[in-house]
Amino acid sequence: MKTLFSAGWSRTRCSLRAGGIALALAAGALVACQSKSPEEDLIQQARPAGSWLATLRWTGEQWNANSVPKSFVKSTVAEARKDLDNVSDAAGKSKARPEARLPLLQLMKDSKAAGDALAGAARKGDRPGVARQVAQLAALQARFSAWQASAKQKQEGGAQ
Amino acid sequence: MAMKALKDLTDDLELARDVLDKQVVDRDEIKMGRVDGLVLELRDGKPPRIDSIEMGGVVLAERIHPRLARWVDGWRRRLKVRKTAVYRVPWSAVQEITPYHIKVDVAALETPAFDWERWLRDHVIAHIPAAAKGGAQE
């Protein structure tokens, strides 16, 4: 009686383990198929930067429209900075070609500067200043999209 | 005759299964713990009979693994709050068995089952202000 019970138990465990291994293999295979070039990796790692540029721009617009307080602009800029720093780090360490990663590094530097300027203008209550940074952020967004497109092209060009 | 003994046995085991893990309340229906274990009395030629119910963390741990029980008991000795590891209530003290609980003729507050409850009330709750609820005064 007792052995029967334990045999049944171990069989369940065995099949559970087999299922786990199969699953891990399947996941591994999927990841292997998705293995990317350094440029593609960098584009993916830079994704939050584009979203943060849009966030900062809109935060500036909302502040000028009296819809968010100064403290929100300040803390949003601080949060954005963390992710922008991460993207800078990724670009620094990336094995992508210099034509792809150096412009991104510069772009991140300019974005952080624009963020700081936005927070500074909001702190001083300087509406025209905030409007200028909003325009600056819109330009940075355009540069970021252009960078994404060119990095993609470079990667395709490199592959040929 | 043998058939009857077998029937008594299954009845008793059924009872044991039904009672194990049930909520235990004292004579004032204060919840005092659960039937963590049962002591069965084995009798020659007669079906076993429930001798007493057991309450205590060590009894529970014993059901998982004896080593866990030793570990839990080690902590009990070190903390010195609960005096006895296993609190036994004789089956004769059972007053009623309902689908929800089993009522025993003791006063929970004075039993080892309430050692921790008492200790926490006197050493922790007593030092926290505002321990009376607004609604309780109505």
Binding site: A27, S51 | D21, I128, G135, A136
Partner: protein, 407 residues
């Protein structure tokens, strides 16, 4: 229907609106809308159907047997069978409570500008004091009425005139156009946010505290369908608002600051305050329920005296359980764990552990000796088993992929 039942019905619906919509919905709905617009409405609808059935079952069980779930599971399935699900459930309680406290702290951060960890201790002390001093009825009354502020999401969605055709299309599952790993992981998180296990334990223990009997079976059904349905509509509205407001601007929700902007377009000036208030109150209501659920589950598992209507002096172990849980969870926020990341992790864990939580529960619901005519019928069993299996497959496939694939 007498007055007491009518009041129970109204209150129950309000409470479950608050019980459904919490930090998990705010995080997952705004994220899904920002990235996939209206394509991910279906996991929420799917999760809501399962949630309605499970909540209805837990209330029916309490009404028919006058026993709360953890109590009955220990009694009927035994300590050894319950121990593992109980440990998992306690862990989930701890994470969810941390995420809810994080949500309250973030709402206060929005309004005051003070950093999130600063609020961890004041919030937990306030939450604790509320539980320590209040009776069960008072908790129900206050959290339910305040919870109505979350309807701001529905009003905002309405004001944006969303494309109805696309909304209906989003209710049908479709394959993603990009980032499949992220898509499926978000689908799992949305389901995890809809089915929050603490609700079953809280709701059935609450029904026992309110002394429900068999005559409440009908009220219970109405409460679960209407209450969970309403809650789900709010979460759906959050997806819609985020799809209309954030997605076109290219804003994704990698941080709660980005989610905080979803209402500003519909309500200039007030949108920001409304978001903070809705988030703070939804999370506070949920934090109250999670803390109590933790205490109910632990006390019932070990047979301690329990009840939110008793003085802490009469149920020291019960009261100190929620006290400890609140403190431990607040530490997560105090030490700077990111509230959004904590929430997303918790929602995925929620979906993954669902079977452990639901299987003991389903076994009990089919016990005719216990429930008699109120035992589960084929409809409840089929719907829960099928949806549970689907949720499990989704979770088991997408979570490892997300971990291995990164991003």
């Amino acid at each position: 229907m007498n007055m007491k039942k009518a009041a129970t019905l109204a209150l129950g619906i309000l409470t479950s609106v608050g019980g459904f919509f919490d930090v998990g919905n705010i995080a997952t709905s705004t994220q899904a809308g920002a990235v996939y617009r209206l394509q991910l409405l279906w996991p929420l609808v799917f999760g809501t159907v399962l949630m309605i059935f499970l909540v209805e079952m837990s209330g029916r069980f309490a009404a028919a047997t006058r026993q709360a779930l953890p109590d009955a599971i220990r009694t009927h399935l035994g300590f050894t069978a319950w121990l593992f699900p109980f440990i998992i459930l306690s862990l989930v309680h701890f994470l969810v409570l941390g995420a809810e406290i994080g949500g309250i702290c973030f709402a206060l951060h929005l309004i005051t500008g003070l950093p999130v960890p600063f609020w961890a201790l004041p919030v937990s002390v306030l939450l604790w004091l509320f539980l320590w001093r209040s009776t069960f009825g008072a908790i129900e009354n206050s959290s339910s009425l305040l919870g109505l502020i979350t309807l701001a999401f529905v009003v905002a969605a309405w004001k944006h005139h969303p494309p109805v055709g696309q909304i209906l299309a989003g209710v049908v599952p479709t394959l993603p156009h990009h980032d499949p790993t992220r898509y499926w992981f978000m689908a799992v998180s949305l389901i995890g946010a809809a089915i929050t296990p603490y609700v079953f334990y809280f709701y059935s223990s609450g029904a026992v505290e309110d002394e429900w009997d068999e005559s409440y079976v009908g009220v219970n059904r109405a409460v679960s369908v209407i209450g969970m349905g309403f809650g789900s509509v709010i979460a759906l509205a959050a997806i819609v608002v985020s799809a209309v407001v954030l997605a076109p601007r290219g804003i994704q929700v990698d941080d709660y600051h980005q989610a905080a902007l979803v209402l500003t377009e519909a309500f200039p000036f007030w949108g920001f305050v409304l978001f903070a208030a809705a988030m703070g109150i939804a999370c506070l209501g949920a934090a109250v329920e999670v803390s109590l659920s933790m205490a109910y589950t632990t006390a019932q598992t070990f047979g301690w005296n329990w009840g939110e209507n008793l003085d802490p002096r009469e149920d020291a172990r019960f009261s100190l359980t929620y006290t400890g849980a609140i403190l431990a969870s607040a530490l997560l926020i105090l030490f700077g764990v990111d509230p959004l990341k904590l929430t997303l992790l918790t929602m995925a864990v929620n979906a993954a552990v669902l079977p452990f939580i639901a299987i003991p529960f389903l076994l009990l619901m089919n016990d005719r000796k216990l429930l008699g005519e109120h035992a589960n019928g084929w409809l409840s069993n089929t719907v829960t088993v099928v949806t549970l299996a689907l949720a499990l497959v989704l979770a088991v496939v997408s979570i490892p992929l997300m971990i291995v694939g990164g991003s």
